[in-house]
Symmetry: C2
Subunit: 262 residues, 2 copies
């Protein structure tokens, strides 16, 4: 089985809730990645609703970063519908609420030519010409353990062109394909675009919303992460994801805190 599928597994606690094990390998600076936590909540939401198999929208607020180890997931099915269902899910650890999320579940089709789209996939250097981002990049002072679990390739030549933007590829190891749940992770797996704008270090997410639009084709994901507006202490970032065939499969926006360098 895929490492990601294993690491996001949930099991019934026998009382209507779920148990999860937050994997120490899917972390940034020792803390589980926010998209990884959202994927765990999505799996619990899909299982609890028992209606539609895929997250179509996921919106989360991040309250308190959990540590690797056991966590509890509680789920409330808000509406179980024929074509879509809506579910609320909460991840907590030692009675501390860590993440709360709202999901729309549905049944996605394979990505194909859309009725209409406002854009074309952005240019990214060929995957084979880019190096995977190391889990401990020199000078960052931050260990990103999760980067040993998948391949992130940033097009460094294109960073900041245009300003505030970075583009690259994401690939799961062992030929494992992306799916709607792992796309939730992918939408938060790129470095913050703020580092192209003079900010360094961690950008803790306050809110993350992801729309999954289609089942991705096999192969790597093309990702564009860009910042839109930096106020005194907050930044919003838009992440767009295309599958290997060039179809949009996920769109995300997040509001995060940041610090300027120096």
């Amino acid at each position: 089985m895929a490492a990601f599928t294993d690491a996001t597994r949930v099991r019934s606690d026998g009382e209507g809730g779920f148990e999860a094990d937050l994997d120490p390998l899917w972390t940034v600076g020792g803390k589980p990645n926010g998209g990884y936590l959202l994927a765990i909540l999505a799996r619990a939401a899909v299982e609890a609703a028992g209606t539609q198999p895929h997250p179509m929208s996921a919106s989360a607020v991040y309250l308190s970063p959990p540590d690797p180890g056991p966590a509890a997931v509680t789920v409330e099915v808000l509406r179980a519908g024929r074509s879509a269902s809506q579910v609320r899910a909460r991840l907590s650890q030692k009675d501390r609420t860590c993440v709360e999320a709202l999901f729309t579940l549905g049944t996605l089709a394979a990505a194909g030519d859309p009725r209409w789209i406002d854009s074309t996939p952005p240019p990214v250097a060929a995957e084979a010409d880019l190096l995977p981002t190391p889990s401990e990049a020199p000078g960052t002072g931050l260990r990103i353990d999760m980067l040993d679990q998948f391949e992130q390739r940033i097009d460094w030549q294109a960073v900041g062109d245009p300003a505030g933007e970075l583009r690259g590829w994401l690939r799961l190891p062992d030929g494992v394909g992306w799916d709607p749940v792992s796309l939730l992770f992918a939408a938060d797996a790129f470095p913050p675009a703020t580092f192209t704008l003079g900010s360094n270090g961690w950008t803790p997410t306050l809110e993350l919303t992801v729309y999954v639009r289609a089942l991705p084709a096999p192969g790597p994901l093309r990702v564009r992460q860009r910042a839109r507006l930096l106020t005194e202490s907050l930044v919003d970032q838009v992440c767009e994801i295309w599958d290997a065939d060039g179809h949009v499969v996920a769109q995300a926006t997040q509001l995060a805190a940041y610090r300027m360098a120096g």
Copy 2:
């Protein structure tokens, strides 16, 4: 007092929850507008938390459209922090859950020159040169009562240039200024951009996320609503809002169902 403030008022039910009266005037086709409902939830969230005065992020899923009339709002403060708090809120009517939302509350500053921004305000014809959208536009078959409560002016010359986009102005009557709560409404007050792409009629919102970035200056709001991707039955739309001084004050994204004409 402003009609909007009156129409979004909540009062304690004496048991930790709130009561609201869904106003028949703030409706589209007889049903309360989704941004209007989000504003009601935000007011309850701010009051229940008692910490910070402004919604900074608001993410809602829409389960079942309520009717005008009494509604109940329940609120759970997920985290009460020094600089930000997070709150979950639910609007229900006759024991039916209608909207569930997650908020990040904070203290916003007046809009000013940002640290960085990726764009400039888009061109819109002068407000005085545009007519207010009537509440009953010929040929639409839809009565939009809320359009009698504020002034929406669409730049029809610019509709579809670029494709999938419409721009215009929003103004509250009697010189009433916009604030962070009414900006949540403004983010869902424009027509669906899908009508520029051959779709007509209602586009029921599944998920709506709004980021309020600053306190707006007095005067009208400049609004750009644009569709990004239409799949077989779903569309995502991005709404951006600038204040009268040209500063970004709110950003929204929504996932909605739509139908093609014919």
